[in-house]
Protein backbone atom coordinates (compact mmCIF):
# COMPACT_ATOMS: atom_id res chain seq x y z
CA UNK A 1 0.00 0.00 0.00
CA UNK A 2 1.10 3.51 -0.72
CA UNK A 3 1.98 5.08 2.59
CA UNK A 4 3.10 8.51 1.52
CA UNK A 5 0.46 11.01 0.63
CA UNK A 6 1.23 14.36 -0.82
CA UNK A 7 -1.06 17.31 -0.24
CA UNK A 8 -2.00 17.10 -3.91
CA UNK A 9 -3.53 13.67 -3.28
CA UNK A 10 -6.24 15.37 -1.28
CA UNK A 11 -7.22 17.63 -4.15
CA UNK A 12 -10.41 15.63 -4.97
CA UNK A 13 -11.69 16.36 -1.44
CA UNK A 14 -11.13 20.05 -1.97
CA UNK A 15 -12.88 19.89 -5.35
CA UNK A 16 -15.82 18.11 -3.80
CA UNK A 17 -16.01 20.69 -1.03
CA UNK A 18 -16.13 23.52 -3.55
CA UNK A 19 -18.73 21.66 -5.61
CA UNK A 20 -20.95 21.20 -2.55
CA UNK A 21 -20.60 24.87 -1.56
CA UNK A 22 -21.25 25.97 -5.12
CA UNK A 23 -24.37 23.81 -5.35
CA UNK A 24 -25.84 25.25 -2.16
CA UNK A 25 -24.96 28.82 -3.07
CA UNK A 26 -26.06 28.37 -6.67
CA UNK A 27 -29.48 26.93 -5.92
CA UNK A 28 -30.17 29.61 -3.32
CA UNK A 29 -29.29 32.41 -5.72
CA UNK A 30 -31.13 30.87 -8.67
CA UNK A 31 -34.36 30.22 -6.78
CA UNK A 32 -34.37 33.78 -5.51
CA UNK A 33 -33.89 35.09 -9.02
CA UNK A 34 -36.30 32.98 -11.06
CA UNK A 35 -39.11 32.47 -8.53
CA UNK A 36 -41.95 35.04 -8.33
CA UNK A 37 -41.95 36.86 -5.02
CA UNK A 38 -45.28 38.02 -3.62
CA UNK A 39 -45.32 39.19 -0.04
CA UNK A 40 -48.33 39.55 2.23
CA UNK A 41 -48.91 39.41 5.95
CA UNK A 42 -50.42 35.95 5.81
CA UNK A 43 -47.76 34.55 3.52
CA UNK A 44 -45.01 35.65 5.87
CA UNK A 45 -46.52 33.75 8.78
CA UNK A 46 -44.38 30.81 9.89
CA UNK A 47 -47.31 28.41 9.35
CA UNK A 48 -49.66 29.57 6.70
CA UNK A 49 -52.55 27.13 6.50
CA UNK A 50 -55.62 29.26 6.96
CA UNK A 51 -55.79 29.01 10.72
CA UNK A 52 -54.59 31.95 12.75
CA UNK A 53 -51.57 31.04 14.84
CA UNK A 54 -52.21 31.21 18.56
CA UNK A 55 -49.83 31.33 21.47
CA UNK A 56 -46.20 30.41 21.76
CA UNK A 57 -44.67 27.38 20.09
CA UNK A 58 -42.42 26.82 23.10
CA UNK A 59 -44.91 25.04 25.29
CA UNK A 60 -43.48 22.84 28.01
CA UNK A 61 -43.53 19.16 27.09
CA UNK A 62 -43.56 16.43 29.68
CA UNK A 63 -40.04 15.29 30.48
CA UNK A 64 -41.18 11.67 30.04
CA UNK A 65 -40.98 12.01 26.26
CA UNK A 66 -37.32 12.96 26.50
CA UNK A 67 -36.57 10.12 28.89
CA UNK A 68 -38.18 7.56 26.63
CA UNK A 69 -36.46 9.01 23.58
CA UNK A 70 -33.05 8.99 25.29
CA UNK A 71 -33.55 5.45 26.53
CA UNK A 72 -34.54 4.36 23.05
CA UNK A 73 -31.37 5.86 21.58
CA UNK A 74 -29.30 4.32 24.36
CA UNK A 75 -30.53 0.78 23.93
CA UNK A 76 -30.62 1.10 20.17
CA UNK A 77 -26.95 2.07 20.05
CA UNK A 78 -25.99 -0.65 22.49
CA UNK A 79 -27.73 -3.30 20.41
CA UNK A 80 -25.77 -2.12 17.37
CA UNK A 81 -22.61 -3.23 19.17
CA UNK A 82 -23.86 -6.78 18.89
CA UNK A 83 -23.73 -6.84 15.08
CA UNK A 84 -19.94 -6.64 14.70
CA UNK A 85 -19.63 -9.08 17.58
CA UNK A 86 -21.99 -11.53 15.90
CA UNK A 87 -20.11 -11.23 12.61
CA UNK A 88 -16.80 -11.98 14.33
CA UNK A 89 -18.22 -14.50 16.75
CA UNK A 90 -16.02 -17.42 15.64
CA UNK A 91 -12.77 -15.48 15.70
CA UNK A 92 -13.44 -13.94 19.11
CA UNK A 93 -14.34 -17.30 20.58
CA UNK A 94 -15.02 -17.88 24.26
CA UNK A 95 -13.31 -14.67 25.34
CA UNK A 96 -15.56 -12.58 23.12
CA UNK A 97 -18.59 -14.45 24.36
CA UNK A 98 -17.77 -13.77 27.99
CA UNK A 99 -17.05 -10.12 27.25
CA UNK A 100 -20.42 -9.81 25.55
CA UNK A 101 -22.11 -11.51 28.50
CA UNK A 102 -20.51 -8.93 30.80
CA UNK A 103 -21.64 -6.15 28.49
CA UNK A 104 -25.19 -7.48 28.44
CA UNK A 105 -25.18 -7.86 32.22
CA UNK A 106 -24.20 -4.20 32.62
CA UNK A 107 -26.82 -3.20 30.08
CA UNK A 108 -29.56 -5.21 31.76
CA UNK A 109 -28.65 -3.87 35.19
CA UNK A 110 -29.14 -0.42 33.71
CA UNK A 111 -32.48 -1.53 32.31
CA UNK A 112 -33.52 -2.89 35.69
CA UNK A 113 -32.49 0.41 37.28
CA UNK A 114 -34.64 2.33 34.80
CA UNK A 115 -37.65 0.14 35.56
CA UNK A 116 -37.19 0.39 39.31
CA UNK A 117 -36.92 4.18 39.03
CA UNK A 118 -40.34 4.13 37.35
CA UNK A 119 -39.18 5.90 34.22
CA UNK A 120 -41.39 3.75 32.00
CA UNK A 121 -44.39 4.28 34.25
CA UNK A 122 -46.42 6.61 32.07
CA UNK A 123 -49.50 7.08 34.25
CA UNK A 124 -47.73 8.42 37.32
Amino acid sequence: MNNTYLPSDYLPILVQFFLAAAFIGGTMIVTHMIGPSRKSKLKDDPFECGIESVGDARTPISVKYFLVAILFVLFDVEVIFMYPWAVNFKELGMFGFLEMLLFMALLLSGFYYVIRKGVLNWEE
Partner: protein
Protein backbone atom coordinates in the same frame (compact mmCIF):
# COMPACT_ATOMS: atom_id res chain seq x y z
CA UNK B 1 -6.05 -1.40 37.45
CA UNK B 2 -7.95 -2.97 40.35
CA UNK B 3 -9.56 0.27 41.55
CA UNK B 4 -10.90 0.97 38.04
CA UNK B 5 -12.64 -2.40 37.84
CA UNK B 6 -13.76 -2.29 41.47
CA UNK B 7 -15.15 1.22 41.33
CA UNK B 8 -17.07 0.55 38.10
CA UNK B 9 -18.75 -2.35 39.84
CA UNK B 10 -19.28 -0.46 43.12
CA UNK B 11 -20.86 2.43 41.25
CA UNK B 12 -23.60 0.15 39.96
CA UNK B 13 -24.01 -1.42 43.38
CA UNK B 14 -24.36 2.05 44.92
CA UNK B 15 -27.12 2.95 42.47
CA UNK B 16 -29.03 -0.17 43.49
CA UNK B 17 -28.42 0.47 47.18
CA UNK B 18 -30.51 3.58 46.67
CA UNK B 19 -33.59 1.36 46.33
CA UNK B 20 -33.17 -0.08 49.80
CA UNK B 21 -35.49 1.19 52.49
CA UNK B 22 -32.81 2.33 54.90
CA UNK B 23 -30.99 5.41 53.68
CA UNK B 24 -28.34 5.16 56.38
CA UNK B 25 -26.52 2.25 54.76
CA UNK B 26 -25.45 4.28 51.74
CA UNK B 27 -22.67 6.38 53.25
CA UNK B 28 -20.91 3.60 55.17
CA UNK B 29 -21.17 1.35 52.11
CA UNK B 30 -19.57 3.89 49.76
CA UNK B 31 -16.84 4.65 52.28
CA UNK B 32 -16.14 0.94 52.52
CA UNK B 33 -16.03 0.74 48.73
CA UNK B 34 -13.44 3.49 48.64
CA UNK B 35 -11.31 1.81 51.28
CA UNK B 36 -11.41 -1.42 49.26
CA UNK B 37 -10.43 0.54 46.14
CA UNK B 38 -7.55 2.20 48.01
CA UNK B 39 -6.33 -1.17 49.24
CA UNK B 40 -6.64 -2.61 45.74
CA UNK B 41 -4.69 0.33 44.41
CA UNK B 42 -1.68 -0.31 46.60
CA UNK B 43 -1.69 -4.05 45.89
CA UNK B 44 0.33 -3.21 42.79
CA UNK B 45 2.83 -1.02 44.62
CA UNK B 46 6.43 -1.67 43.51
CA UNK B 47 5.30 -4.33 41.04
CA UNK B 48 7.00 -2.26 38.37
CA UNK B 49 5.35 -0.94 35.23
CA UNK B 50 2.39 -3.12 34.37
CA UNK B 51 0.35 -2.80 31.20
CA UNK B 52 -3.34 -3.64 30.98
CA UNK B 53 -6.17 -3.60 28.46
CA UNK B 54 -4.07 -4.21 25.34
CA UNK B 55 -1.34 -1.82 26.56
CA UNK B 56 -3.81 1.03 26.92
CA UNK B 57 -3.26 1.48 30.64
CA UNK B 58 0.03 1.62 32.46
CA UNK B 59 0.35 1.12 36.19
CA UNK B 60 3.54 2.22 37.92
CA UNK B 61 4.30 3.85 41.24
CA UNK B 62 3.59 7.34 39.91
CA UNK B 63 0.14 6.24 38.75
CA UNK B 64 -0.49 4.61 42.10
CA UNK B 65 0.59 7.72 44.01
CA UNK B 66 -1.80 9.90 42.01
CA UNK B 67 -4.54 7.29 42.39
CA UNK B 68 -3.92 7.32 46.12
CA UNK B 69 -4.30 11.11 46.33
CA UNK B 70 -7.48 10.99 44.27
CA UNK B 71 -9.03 8.18 46.29
CA UNK B 72 -8.01 9.73 49.61
CA UNK B 73 -9.54 13.09 48.63
CA UNK B 74 -12.67 11.31 47.46
CA UNK B 75 -12.87 9.44 50.76
CA UNK B 76 -12.67 12.69 52.73
CA UNK B 77 -15.22 14.39 50.51
CA UNK B 78 -17.65 11.48 50.76
CA UNK B 79 -17.23 11.48 54.52
CA UNK B 80 -17.97 15.18 54.97
CA UNK B 81 -20.98 14.98 52.67
CA UNK B 82 -22.74 13.25 55.56
CA UNK B 83 -24.75 11.19 53.09
CA UNK B 84 -26.75 14.30 52.07
CA UNK B 85 -29.08 13.59 54.97
CA UNK B 86 -29.88 17.24 55.64
CA UNK B 87 -31.38 17.87 52.22
CA UNK B 88 -34.71 16.12 51.61
CA UNK B 89 -34.60 16.85 47.85
CA UNK B 90 -31.28 15.14 47.35
CA UNK B 91 -30.67 11.77 45.67
CA UNK B 92 -27.72 10.39 47.64
CA UNK B 93 -27.47 7.10 45.76
CA UNK B 94 -27.23 8.87 42.41
CA UNK B 95 -24.69 11.39 43.71
CA UNK B 96 -22.47 8.70 45.17
CA UNK B 97 -22.87 6.51 42.11
CA UNK B 98 -21.93 9.36 39.79
CA UNK B 99 -18.95 10.30 41.94
CA UNK B 100 -17.72 6.71 41.94
CA UNK B 101 -18.06 6.56 38.16
CA UNK B 102 -16.25 9.87 37.79
CA UNK B 103 -13.44 8.44 39.94
CA UNK B 104 -13.12 5.65 37.38
CA UNK B 105 -12.63 8.32 34.73
CA UNK B 106 -10.06 10.10 36.89
CA UNK B 107 -8.07 6.92 37.41
CA UNK B 108 -8.13 6.23 33.68
CA UNK B 109 -6.75 9.72 33.05
CA UNK B 110 -3.94 9.09 35.51
CA UNK B 111 -2.85 5.78 34.03
CA UNK B 112 -3.53 6.20 30.33
CA UNK B 113 -1.02 4.97 27.80
CA UNK B 114 -3.21 5.42 24.75
CA UNK B 115 -4.92 8.63 23.69
CA UNK B 116 -8.31 6.94 23.36
CA UNK B 117 -8.05 5.93 27.01
CA UNK B 118 -7.30 9.55 27.90
CA UNK B 119 -10.32 10.73 25.97
CA UNK B 120 -12.64 8.16 27.55
CA UNK B 121 -11.32 9.02 30.99
CA UNK B 122 -11.86 12.74 30.48
CA UNK B 123 -15.37 12.11 29.22
CA UNK B 124 -16.38 9.78 32.06
CA UNK B 125 -15.09 12.30 34.56
CA UNK B 126 -16.63 15.34 32.89
CA UNK B 127 -20.09 13.99 32.12
CA UNK B 128 -20.55 12.97 35.74
CA UNK B 129 -19.37 16.41 36.85
CA UNK B 130 -21.80 18.22 34.52
CA UNK B 131 -24.68 16.34 36.12
CA UNK B 132 -23.45 16.86 39.68
CA UNK B 133 -22.94 20.60 39.08
CA UNK B 134 -26.62 20.92 38.26
CA UNK B 135 -27.78 18.55 40.96
CA UNK B 136 -29.36 21.37 42.97
CA UNK B 137 -32.34 21.34 40.63
CA UNK B 138 -34.35 24.17 42.21
CA UNK B 139 -31.44 26.60 42.31
CA UNK B 140 -31.09 28.83 39.29
CA UNK B 141 -27.37 29.38 39.82
CA UNK B 142 -26.72 25.66 39.92
CA UNK B 143 -28.61 25.22 36.65
CA UNK B 144 -26.71 28.07 35.05
CA UNK B 145 -23.42 26.60 36.22
CA UNK B 146 -24.26 23.18 34.83
CA UNK B 147 -25.28 24.59 31.46
CA UNK B 148 -22.15 26.75 31.20
CA UNK B 149 -19.90 23.92 32.25
CA UNK B 150 -21.54 21.50 29.85
CA UNK B 151 -21.47 23.76 26.80
CA UNK B 152 -17.91 24.94 27.32
CA UNK B 153 -16.74 21.52 28.37
CA UNK B 154 -18.24 19.98 25.26
CA UNK B 155 -16.40 22.54 23.18
CA UNK B 156 -13.13 21.82 24.93
CA UNK B 157 -13.68 18.12 24.36
CA UNK B 158 -14.13 18.86 20.69
CA UNK B 159 -10.76 20.61 20.59
CA UNK B 160 -9.20 17.71 22.38
CA UNK B 161 -10.61 15.15 20.00
CA UNK B 162 -9.48 17.18 17.02
CA UNK B 163 -6.01 17.36 18.53
CA UNK B 164 -5.93 13.59 19.02
CA UNK B 165 -7.03 13.13 15.41
CA UNK B 166 -4.24 15.34 14.11
CA UNK B 167 -1.69 13.55 16.29
CA UNK B 168 -2.88 10.27 14.84
CA UNK B 169 -2.64 11.74 11.38
CA UNK B 170 0.92 12.90 11.98
CA UNK B 171 2.28 9.85 13.78
CA UNK B 172 -0.03 7.01 12.78
CA UNK B 173 -0.55 5.89 16.36
CA UNK B 174 -2.49 6.61 19.51
CA UNK B 175 0.13 5.03 21.74
CA UNK B 176 2.29 7.31 23.81
CA UNK B 177 5.56 5.48 23.12
CA UNK B 178 5.04 5.45 19.39
CA UNK B 179 4.18 9.13 19.36
CA UNK B 180 7.29 9.67 21.46
CA UNK B 181 9.38 7.71 18.99
CA UNK B 182 8.01 9.72 16.10
CA UNK B 183 8.34 13.09 17.82
CA UNK B 184 11.97 12.47 18.82
CA UNK B 185 13.16 11.69 15.29
CA UNK B 186 10.96 14.10 13.43
CA UNK B 187 12.13 16.06 10.41
CA UNK B 188 10.76 19.53 9.85
CA UNK B 189 8.01 19.12 7.29
CA UNK B 190 4.27 19.07 6.87
CA UNK B 191 3.93 16.20 9.37
CA UNK B 192 5.73 18.12 12.09
CA UNK B 193 3.29 21.01 11.70
CA UNK B 194 0.37 18.63 11.96
CA UNK B 195 1.93 17.21 15.13
CA UNK B 196 2.40 20.69 16.59
CA UNK B 197 -1.18 21.65 15.76
CA UNK B 198 -2.46 18.43 17.27
CA UNK B 199 -0.43 18.92 20.43
CA UNK B 200 -1.67 22.48 20.86
CA UNK B 201 -5.32 21.48 20.37
CA UNK B 202 -4.96 18.58 22.80
CA UNK B 203 -3.33 20.92 25.31
CA UNK B 204 -6.22 23.38 24.95
CA UNK B 205 -8.68 20.65 25.82
CA UNK B 206 -6.68 19.49 28.83
CA UNK B 207 -5.88 22.99 30.09
CA UNK B 208 -9.57 23.78 29.98
CA UNK B 209 -10.25 20.87 32.32
CA UNK B 210 -7.66 22.09 34.85
CA UNK B 211 -8.97 25.69 34.44
CA UNK B 212 -5.78 27.37 33.27
CA UNK B 213 -6.07 30.89 31.86
CA UNK B 214 -7.17 31.80 29.18
CA UNK B 215 -9.52 28.82 29.39
CA UNK B 216 -10.60 29.59 32.95
CA UNK B 217 -13.75 31.63 32.35
CA UNK B 218 -16.12 28.88 33.40
CA UNK B 219 -14.38 28.25 36.72
CA UNK B 220 -15.70 30.99 39.03
CA UNK B 221 -19.31 30.64 37.92
CA UNK B 222 -19.29 26.85 37.97
CA UNK B 223 -17.48 26.57 41.29
CA UNK B 224 -19.83 29.10 42.82
CA UNK B 225 -23.03 27.68 41.37
CA UNK B 226 -22.39 24.02 42.08
CA UNK B 227 -23.31 22.63 45.50
CA UNK B 228 -20.24 23.11 47.72
CA UNK B 229 -19.60 19.42 48.18
CA UNK B 230 -19.28 18.92 44.42
CA UNK B 231 -17.17 22.05 44.11
CA UNK B 232 -14.78 20.41 46.53
CA UNK B 233 -14.76 17.29 44.40
CA UNK B 234 -14.15 19.31 41.26
CA UNK B 235 -11.32 21.36 42.66
CA UNK B 236 -9.45 18.40 44.14
CA UNK B 237 -10.11 15.20 42.21
CA UNK B 238 -10.56 16.75 38.76
CA UNK B 239 -7.53 18.98 39.10
CA UNK B 240 -5.26 16.23 40.37
CA UNK B 241 -6.36 13.89 37.59
CA UNK B 242 -5.97 16.64 35.01
CA UNK B 243 -2.41 17.42 36.01
CA UNK B 244 -1.48 13.75 36.25
CA UNK B 245 -2.78 13.33 32.70
CA UNK B 246 -0.96 16.42 31.45
CA UNK B 247 2.28 15.29 33.01
CA UNK B 248 1.96 11.80 31.59
CA UNK B 249 1.10 13.17 28.17
CA UNK B 250 4.00 15.61 28.00
CA UNK B 251 6.60 13.38 29.63
CA UNK B 252 5.46 10.23 27.84
CA UNK B 253 5.12 11.59 24.33
CA UNK B 254 6.55 15.02 23.80
CA UNK B 255 9.93 15.26 25.48
CA UNK B 256 11.37 15.25 21.96
CA UNK B 257 9.64 18.51 21.09
CA UNK B 258 10.18 20.16 24.49
CA UNK B 259 11.63 23.21 22.76
CA UNK B 260 8.32 23.77 21.01
CA UNK B 261 5.82 23.52 23.83
CA UNK B 262 7.63 24.62 26.97
CA UNK B 263 7.29 28.30 26.16
CA UNK B 264 3.58 27.82 25.50
CA UNK B 265 3.06 26.18 28.87
CA UNK B 266 5.27 28.79 30.55
CA UNK B 267 3.25 31.65 29.06
CA UNK B 268 0.00 30.02 30.09
CA UNK B 269 1.39 29.43 33.58
CA UNK B 270 2.27 33.11 33.98
CA UNK B 271 -1.11 34.20 32.64
CA UNK B 272 -2.89 31.75 34.93
CA UNK B 273 -0.98 33.01 37.95
CA UNK B 274 -1.81 36.63 37.12
CA UNK B 275 -5.49 35.98 36.42
CA UNK B 276 -5.96 33.67 39.41
CA UNK B 277 -4.25 35.80 42.01
CA UNK B 278 -5.39 39.20 40.86
CA UNK B 279 -8.92 37.94 40.25
CA UNK B 280 -9.08 36.48 43.75
CA UNK B 281 -8.22 39.77 45.45
CA UNK B 282 -11.40 41.48 44.27
CA UNK B 283 -13.85 38.77 45.38
CA UNK B 284 -16.32 39.22 48.21
CA UNK B 285 -17.52 35.65 48.20
CA UNK B 286 -15.26 33.15 49.89
CA UNK B 287 -16.38 30.38 47.55
CA UNK B 288 -15.62 32.48 44.49
CA UNK B 289 -12.25 33.39 45.96
CA UNK B 290 -11.51 29.68 46.32
CA UNK B 291 -12.40 29.24 42.66
CA UNK B 292 -9.84 31.87 41.67
CA UNK B 293 -7.39 30.33 44.11
CA UNK B 294 -7.93 27.06 42.27
CA UNK B 295 -6.96 28.83 39.05
CA UNK B 296 -3.81 30.24 40.61
CA UNK B 297 -2.80 26.82 41.96
CA UNK B 298 -3.21 25.45 38.45
CA UNK B 299 -0.63 28.09 37.52
CA UNK B 300 1.88 26.82 40.08
CA UNK B 301 1.39 23.25 38.89
CA UNK B 302 1.94 24.38 35.29
CA UNK B 303 5.35 25.70 36.34
CA UNK B 304 6.26 22.18 37.40
CA UNK B 305 5.13 21.02 33.96
CA UNK B 306 7.46 23.44 32.21
CA UNK B 307 10.35 21.95 34.16
CA UNK B 308 9.29 18.38 33.30
CA UNK B 309 11.85 16.40 35.25
CA UNK B 310 11.89 13.75 37.94
CA UNK B 311 11.89 16.37 40.75
CA UNK B 312 9.03 18.20 39.12
CA UNK B 313 7.04 14.99 38.92
CA UNK B 314 7.46 14.48 42.66
CA UNK B 315 6.66 18.15 43.17
CA UNK B 316 3.34 17.75 41.31
CA UNK B 317 2.44 14.75 43.45
CA UNK B 318 3.31 16.55 46.69
CA UNK B 319 1.61 19.76 45.62
CA UNK B 320 -1.57 17.96 44.56
CA UNK B 321 -1.75 16.25 47.93
CA UNK B 322 -1.12 19.45 49.89
CA UNK B 323 -3.59 21.41 47.77
CA UNK B 324 -6.29 18.74 48.04
CA UNK B 325 -5.99 18.50 51.83
CA UNK B 326 -6.18 22.26 52.35
CA UNK B 327 -8.99 22.71 49.85
CA UNK B 328 -11.07 20.01 51.51
CA UNK B 329 -10.58 21.76 54.86
CA UNK B 330 -11.48 25.16 53.45
CA UNK B 331 -14.63 23.94 51.72
CA UNK B 332 -15.51 21.76 54.70
CA UNK B 333 -15.49 24.74 57.05
CA UNK B 334 -17.31 26.85 54.46
CA UNK B 335 -20.10 24.27 54.25
CA UNK B 336 -20.62 24.38 58.00
CA UNK B 337 -20.42 28.14 58.37
CA UNK B 338 -22.48 29.05 55.31
CA UNK B 339 -25.44 27.05 56.58
CA UNK B 340 -25.74 29.25 59.66
CA UNK B 341 -27.07 32.27 57.82
CA UNK B 342 -28.87 32.42 54.52
CA UNK B 343 -29.23 35.19 52.00
CA UNK B 344 -32.38 34.87 49.93
CA UNK B 345 -32.72 31.19 50.80
CA UNK B 346 -29.16 30.40 49.73
CA UNK B 347 -26.24 29.74 52.09
CA UNK B 348 -24.20 32.82 52.93
CA UNK B 349 -20.83 32.24 51.29
CA UNK B 350 -19.41 35.74 51.72
CA UNK B 351 -16.42 36.61 53.83
CA UNK B 352 -18.60 38.23 56.48
CA UNK B 353 -20.17 34.83 57.22
CA UNK B 354 -16.92 34.02 59.01
CA UNK B 355 -17.02 37.07 61.30
CA UNK B 356 -16.33 36.06 64.88
CA UNK B 357 -15.87 32.39 64.04
CA UNK B 358 -13.02 31.89 66.49
CA UNK B 359 -14.97 32.96 69.56
CA UNK B 360 -17.43 30.07 69.70
CA UNK B 361 -15.77 27.62 67.28
CA UNK B 362 -12.04 27.67 67.96
CA UNK B 363 -11.49 24.30 66.28
CA UNK B 364 -13.12 25.34 63.02
CA UNK B 365 -11.22 28.62 63.02
CA UNK B 366 -7.96 26.74 63.56
CA UNK B 367 -8.70 24.27 60.74
CA UNK B 368 -9.56 27.15 58.43
CA UNK B 369 -6.43 29.06 59.41
CA UNK B 370 -4.12 26.13 58.77
CA UNK B 371 -5.71 25.46 55.41
CA UNK B 372 -5.41 29.12 54.41
CA UNK B 373 -1.77 29.22 55.52
CA UNK B 374 -1.08 26.10 53.52
CA UNK B 375 -2.79 27.48 50.41
CA UNK B 376 -0.84 30.72 50.79
CA UNK B 377 2.39 28.74 51.17
CA UNK B 378 3.48 29.83 54.64
CA UNK B 379 6.29 27.70 56.13
CA UNK B 380 5.50 24.79 58.46
CA UNK B 381 2.57 23.80 56.26
CA UNK B 382 2.46 21.34 53.41
CA UNK B 383 1.64 24.10 50.93
CA UNK B 384 4.99 25.78 51.56
CA UNK B 385 6.95 22.68 50.65
CA UNK B 386 4.74 22.09 47.64
CA UNK B 387 5.63 25.51 46.30
CA UNK B 388 9.26 25.08 47.34
CA UNK B 389 9.64 21.82 45.40
CA UNK B 390 7.96 23.30 42.33
CA UNK B 391 10.14 26.42 42.37
CA UNK B 392 13.34 24.43 42.85
CA UNK B 393 12.43 22.07 40.00
CA UNK B 394 11.89 25.07 37.72
CA UNK B 395 15.11 26.70 38.90
CA UNK B 396 17.08 23.50 38.30
CA UNK B 397 15.84 23.51 34.74
CA UNK B 398 17.17 27.07 34.47
CA UNK B 399 13.79 28.83 34.24
CA UNK B 400 14.42 31.47 36.88
CA UNK B 401 12.19 34.26 35.60
CA UNK B 402 9.03 32.20 35.96
CA UNK B 403 9.94 31.41 39.56
CA UNK B 404 10.32 35.11 40.30
CA UNK B 405 6.85 35.84 38.94
CA UNK B 406 5.39 32.92 40.89
CA UNK B 407 6.93 34.10 44.16
CA UNK B 408 5.58 37.60 43.57
CA UNK B 409 2.14 36.18 42.87
CA UNK B 410 2.16 34.04 45.99
CA UNK B 411 2.72 37.18 48.05
CA UNK B 412 -0.43 38.57 46.44
CA UNK B 413 -2.10 35.35 47.59
CA UNK B 414 -1.38 36.16 51.22
CA UNK B 415 -3.70 39.17 50.99
CA UNK B 416 -6.83 37.27 50.06
CA UNK B 417 -6.14 34.15 52.09
CA UNK B 418 -5.59 36.21 55.22
CA UNK B 419 -8.84 38.14 54.79
CA UNK B 420 -10.87 35.19 56.02
CA UNK B 421 -8.46 34.60 58.92
CA UNK B 422 -8.88 38.25 59.92
CA UNK B 423 -12.65 37.86 59.64
CA UNK B 424 -12.74 34.83 61.87
CA UNK B 425 -10.35 36.10 64.57
CA UNK B 426 -10.51 39.87 64.67
CA UNK B 427 -13.96 40.88 63.48
CA UNK B 428 -17.03 40.92 65.67
CA UNK B 429 -19.83 38.55 64.74
CA UNK B 430 -22.79 36.76 66.21
CA UNK B 431 -21.95 33.22 65.14
CA UNK B 432 -23.20 30.70 67.65
CA UNK B 433 -21.55 27.36 68.33
CA UNK B 434 -21.87 25.25 65.21
CA UNK B 435 -22.79 21.63 65.74
CA UNK B 436 -20.31 19.43 63.91
CA UNK B 437 -20.88 15.71 63.41
CA UNK B 438 -18.10 13.66 65.04
CA UNK B 439 -17.01 12.02 61.79
CA UNK B 440 -16.90 15.39 60.06
CA UNK B 441 -14.67 16.67 62.83
CA UNK B 442 -12.37 13.66 62.52
CA UNK B 443 -11.91 14.28 58.78
CA UNK B 444 -11.19 17.98 59.25
CA UNK B 445 -8.71 17.30 62.04
CA UNK B 446 -7.06 14.53 60.04
CA UNK B 447 -6.62 16.75 57.00
CA UNK B 448 -5.23 19.56 59.18
CA UNK B 449 -2.91 17.14 60.94
CA UNK B 450 -1.59 15.83 57.63
CA UNK B 451 -1.09 19.38 56.38
CA UNK B 452 1.05 20.22 59.40
CA UNK B 453 2.81 16.84 59.36
CA UNK B 454 3.90 17.27 55.74
CA UNK B 455 4.86 20.82 56.59
CA UNK B 456 7.16 19.68 59.37
CA UNK B 457 8.51 16.58 57.66
CA UNK B 458 8.18 16.89 53.91
CA UNK B 459 10.73 14.13 53.43
CA UNK B 460 8.24 11.41 54.34
CA UNK B 461 7.65 10.64 50.70
CA UNK B 462 11.28 10.96 49.70
CA UNK B 463 12.48 7.96 47.77
CA UNK B 464 9.09 6.29 47.67
CA UNK B 465 8.41 6.91 44.01
Amino acid sequence: MYPIVLLSFFGIVTLFLGFSKSKNILLPATLLFLIIALAGNFLEWNKGPLLYFYDMLRVDNVTLAFNGIILLSAFMIFAISGGFQDNPDSEPAEYFGLMLFSLVGALMMVGFQHLIMLFIGVEILSVAMYVLTGSNKRNLRSNEAALKYFLMGAFATGFMLFGITLLYGATGSFKLEQIQGFASNMQVGSESYILYAGLLLLLIGMLFKVSAAPFHFWTPDVYEGAPTIFTTFMSTVVKTAGFAALFRLLSGSFTGVYGFWWIVIAAIAVLTLLVGNIGATSQNSFKRMLAYSGISHAGYLLIALTALSKPSQNAIIFYSLAYSLSTICAFGVLMLVSKEKTIGGQPNEYYDAFNGLAKQNPLLAFVLTVSMLSLAGIPLTAGFWGKFFIFTSAAERGIIWITVIAVLMSTVGIYYYFRVIISSYLKEGDLVKIRVAPFYKVILVLATFLTILFGLAPGIFEGLI
